[in-house]
């Protein structure tokens, strides 16, 4: 089992102000990193012949657009997640599964980096929570539960899916 969870996000940078080195850093870590992890995990799992599961951490921003998160949205939407079906197809022939979790707003240090200048933590989190029909933010434990679900051999028929975890913010996505 491999969980490609590592990633970075530098928010609140307008698209037209995005420095090229920062753009490239996002792609190196969030896209190249996931590619290399999948590549070497698939090679290893294939050699073992016992099956396996890969869960990649995407983002709700994979399927929505934030103009002030251009590098992150760009790679999550086109660099990482859109390759998900190809990874799943490539791995499937060896009995391996590849799925992705797409967290929405989760109260972490990364999310709090999205606060606007002068905005309080409470106001910011309330604003994020208001997007959810369930009136709740996902927690890190919610994300972990979804990862375990997708990695569980009991879900052996599931591969190539994106699972949004955002309190119903993007239903049916």
């Amino acid at each position: 089992m491999l969980v490609n969870n590592a990633g970075i996000y530098r928010p609140n940078i307008p698209f037209e102000e995005m420095p090229l080195d920062l753009w490239r850093q996002h792609f190196a870590i969030n896209s190249d990193g996931v590619f290399l992890g999948c590549k070497h995990a698939i090679r290893s799992m294939k050699a073992r012949g016992n099956g396996g599961a890969i869960v990649n951490m995407g983002s709700g921003l994979s399927i929505t657009a934030n103009p002030d998160g251009a590098a992150y949205c760009g790679l999550e939407g086109r660099g990482a997640d859109d390759h998900q079906d190809r990874r799943a197809r490539a791995a499937g022939q060896y009995g391996l599964r590849v799925n992705a979790v797409l967290p929405g707003a989760v109260p972490t240090e990364m999310l709090m980096g999205n606060k606007l200048e002068g905005e309080s933590d409470g106001d910011f989190l309330a604003k994020m929570q208001a997007f959810s029909p369930l009136d709740r933010l996902a927690t890190p434990h919610d994300i972990a539960a979804a990862v375990l679900f997708l990695a569980d051999p009991a879900t052996k028929a599931i591969s190539g899916v994106f699972m949004p975890l955002d309190g119903g913010n993007i239903p049916g996505a």
Binding site: M1, N4, N5, A6, D32, G33, G37, A151
Partner: protein, 59 residues
Amino acid sequence: MVAAFVARGARVVSADLSVADESATRDGVIARWLDVTSEESWLALIAFVEHELAVLTCW
């Protein structure tokens, strides 16, 4: 560099994700440094985890 957490055994474990030292081991979890952008780094990690159960990368 990010932390890669390698889980031994089938139990669900908890780990202090702020700890990423190659010698750190707790609850069956081993933390190692990993440059996710480096092919060599991934090869070294995969070789290390050959007989382990799971790998979680964490920024």
